[in-house]
């Protein structure tokens, strides 16, 4: 409650906590509905996790699919998402998402400069499941010119990986960013970088931020939310810390939590996650502060054992926001001439499947030995790989950095990295047989259309399989990572946070990774995280403004 002598320094209608996709869209929607809006962000830059992401939205039945000649329906999408959710989320929320997401998309295009384009070749992550599509549900935000932001261009968070180049997702797909790196127009990309163009998450957040700034709403950066203020059972404001001083912000109509996940909190991940996220891919500020504020008010929680899993690879000494950068790996494991093994030298997964589901066997526990046999894990490559494909920051023709372990034989490499030598030698021999036949009879690598997206379509007979037989051989450790966590506060179809007793907590909303994910353990397609986050941000902003 407000103290007797306390008077809020800022008075607003709707207060949004967090400046990622969920927060920015919530702020836009609330303002559009007539509310006075304030947005706080604890980091020095705006954009949150969305800004470092691929910036893609997964929106079934969206209006751009028609232009790409792809038919879709609510019923198909519902069938598909329900299967992936595995009965572990509220079906009503899935329906809410499917109904509202296409409207949210149109709204964003109306009130911001972001213009999306369907990606007809980017398949859903299980394209063979009933209701899935071979492309079109994932949407590319294109490029954004940061000069449009004026003084705010320096306050836009840049991705440490995607932010280094300005190519749209459509271009990256057409150019073969991973499989044909030598064909990339590096001169053009250098020009675009110098001109201030950004892509992927930077482009999405840049456009959303521009829309907000055009309405005269400037996010309050370096303003960390601390405690929600409650009066008569209703959330009416926030205590925050700005420049080391506590400030009070009153919010007459509601507070929207859009503060991201908890993947950087060692305590919360240890308490809740079934796996261990040692190498998160998001900005280090995602430590569950919003979740804890909701918990303090008795919020009900769901999906807490899940994350948007993603395998990570580290380049020693590479830092982002003062922490070791953990690079999500999307292609090294999917391209020919590579395989993933555990410490026994055995494969244990289809390396080319989507990054979320790929991670699950990493956490498998042997109930007899009581250990995780698939950790640590390594991706093994040969010289053919480095002669053809992009490997982290190098392209063919560049020397492989000295820190990457290498050897002239598979056995010698195994000994160097502490993997069973006989096991790895036998595994590689068997794998080479699959590569030659084009059929991975153990894990089905390259059988799905999804696998091909990150493969080499010129590789025959299977775009994801190539022998590992040309020395030197290389190894990179693959760590358990996550784009973000997926568990959080339960909400209803109006994005209102629910108390453990089942009733909404008046005045409190949630969207994005602070909210319990609606897809259970599943990841329907590229952009599911942001598509859901922005949709529930849209719902929350609109509802709060009207409350």
């Amino acid at each position: 409650m407000w103290g007797r002598k306390q008077k809020p320094q800022i008075e607003t209608d709707v207060l949004v906590i967090g400046s990622g996709g969920a927060g920015l869209v919530a702020a836009l929607a609330a303002h559009q509905a007539g509310a006075k809006v304030t947005l706080v962000e604890k980091a020095a830059k705006a954009g949150g996790t969305t800004a470092v992401s691929g910036g893609v939205l997964w929106i079934p039945n969206n209006h751009h699919m028609g232009k790409a000649g792809i038919a879709d329906s609510r019923a198909e999408a519902l069938q598909y998402v329900k299967r992936l959710a595995d009965g572990r989320s509220d079906e009503k929320l899935i329906e809410t998402f499917l109904d509202e997401a296409p409207q949210m998309l149109k709204f964003v295009e109306e009130v911001t400069p972001v213009r999306f384009q369907a990606l007809p070749k980017y398949p859903d992550y299980h394209p063979e499941f009933a209701g899935a599509k071979p492309g079109g549900r994932s949407l590319d935000p294109g490029l954004f010119d940061t000069k449009q932001l004026g003084a705010w261009k320096d306050k836009l968070r840049r991705s440490p990986v995607f932010g280094m180049t300005a190519m749209s997702v459509s271009e990256a797909t057409e150019w073969g960013v991973f499989s044909k790196p030598l064909k990339l127009p590096f001169k053009l990309l250098g020009q675009r970088f110098s001109e201030g163009l950004v892509c992927y998450g930077g482009a999405l957040v840049g456009g959303l931020l521009k829309g907000l700034l055009d309405r005269g709403i400037e996010p309050l950066l370096q303003t960390a939310a601390r405690d929600l203020v409650v009066e008569d059972g209703r959330v009416v404001g926030l205590k925050a810390v700005q420049n080391g001083k506590e400030i009070l912000i009153s919010a007459k109509r509601g507070v929207i939590l859009a503060s991201g996940g908890f993947e950087w909190s060692k305590t919360l991940t240890a308490q809740f996650l079934g796996g261990i996220v040692t190498h998160p891919n998001s900005p280090p500020g995602n430590d569950g502060d919003g979740l804890k504020m909701a918990m303090a008010l008795g919020a009900d929680l769901a999906n807490m054992s899940e994350a948007w899993w993603c395998p990570s690879i580290d380049i020693p000494g590479e830092e982002y926001d003062g922490q070791q950068l953990h690079r999500g790996d999307f292609a090294i494991r999917s391209l020919p001439h590579s395989l993933i093994v555990n410490r026994r030298g055995n494969r244990f997964v289809n390396e080319a499947q989507n990054y979320n589901d790929l991670m699950k066997p990493f956490f498998h526990v042997d109930p007899v030995a009581y250990e995780r046999p698939n950790l640590p894990a390594w991706v093994i490559l040969d010289q053919q790989f480095v002669e053809h494909y992009a490997l982290l920051t190098i392209v063919p023709g560049m020397p492989v950095p000295e820190w990457i372990p290498r050897a002239q034989t598979i056995g010698e490499l195994a000994e160097k990295i502490g993997v069973d030598s006989k096991g790895l030698t036998a595994t590689v021999e068997r794998f080479n047989g699959f590569a030659k036949s084009g059929v991975d009879s153990e894990f089905g690598r390259g059988a799905s259309l999804y696998d091909h997206f990150y493969g080499d379509l010129d590789q025959k007979p299977n775009p994801n399989l190539g022998t590992v037989e040309k020395a030197p051989f290389y190894a990179l450790q693959v760590h358990p990572g996550a784009i973000g966590t997926k568990g959080g506060a339960r909400v209803d179809s109006r994005a209102r946070v629910l108390h453990v007793n089942g009733a909404p907590i008046a005045g409190l909303y949630a969207a994005g990774n602070v909210m319990a994910g609606i897809t259970g353990p599943g990841y329907p397609g590229a952009g599911s995280t942001i598509g859901t986050a922005m949709t529930f941000g849209y719902i929350a902003g609109r509802d709060a403004a009207k409350s």
Partner: protein, 195 residues
């Protein structure tokens, strides 16, 4: 190839500046992002630097080779990346300052966007490397020497044009940083800092 040049002046005579600059061990720790350096022989050493590429901070190892040792005027060196396809070089030049009545060369004109980009990278540089050295240059009439640092870096390989675009804005802050750190150190050592 991105190349920059930065000049500062000191009250110290060129000979005193040369005494310090002639030995790379003296000033290598003043390099931006310095982590360590290993001397291989009289002319060769390996520098480990933590450098900024775009929004990232990367640790790079560079092989430095002294190509010219011409006291008390200049030391020049080449740089070759060990883990990265990058090469370049630098030259520290010590000279008596131009006469007080000599015209000062006007800085090249830069467009608005260029100035905004440079401003951003200066901000980024300070954020990632600390505030840098604060020092006042002596009045022109009091300056007894000028120290110029010329630095060039060129990323090779197919991705060179892109990496060079990222490197270019970071070079001038790095050149300013080294020249000013050397100057500040010598001024403090000899008690001649400008007030």
């Amino acid at each position: 190839m991105p190349e920059v040049e930065y000049m500062t002046t000191m009250k110290l005579p060129p000979e005193q500046v040369w005494e310090f600059v002639r030995d790379m061990n003296n000033w290598a720790p003043f390099l931006t992002g310095y982590q360590r350096h290993e001397i291989e022989n009289e002319t060769d050493s390996i520098w480990t630097l933590k450098g900024d590429v775009g929004v990232l901070s990367r640790t790079v190892r560079l092989k430095a080779h002294v190509t010219e040792w011409n006291g008390p005027e200049r030391v020049a060196f080449t740089l070759v990346g060990i883990d990265e396809v990058v090469e370049g070089g630098g030259m520290l030049t010590i000279a008596k300052p131009s006469p007080a009545d000599a015209p000062i060369a006007a800085p090249p004109k830069r467009g608005l966007w260029r100035r905004m980009v440079d401003g951003f990278f200066r901000w980024l540089f300070r954020r990632m490397n600390g505030p840098g050295v604060k020092r006042l240059e002596p009045a022109r009439a009091e300056a007894a020497s000028q120290l110029t640092f010329k630095l060039r870096m060129d990323a090779g390989g197919p991705s060179g044009p892109l990496v060079n675009a990222m490197l270019a804005p970071a070079l001038m802050p790095a050149a300013e940083d080294l020249a000013n750190k050397i100057a500040a150190h010598l001024e403090q050592l000899h008690g001649v800092a400008a007030r």
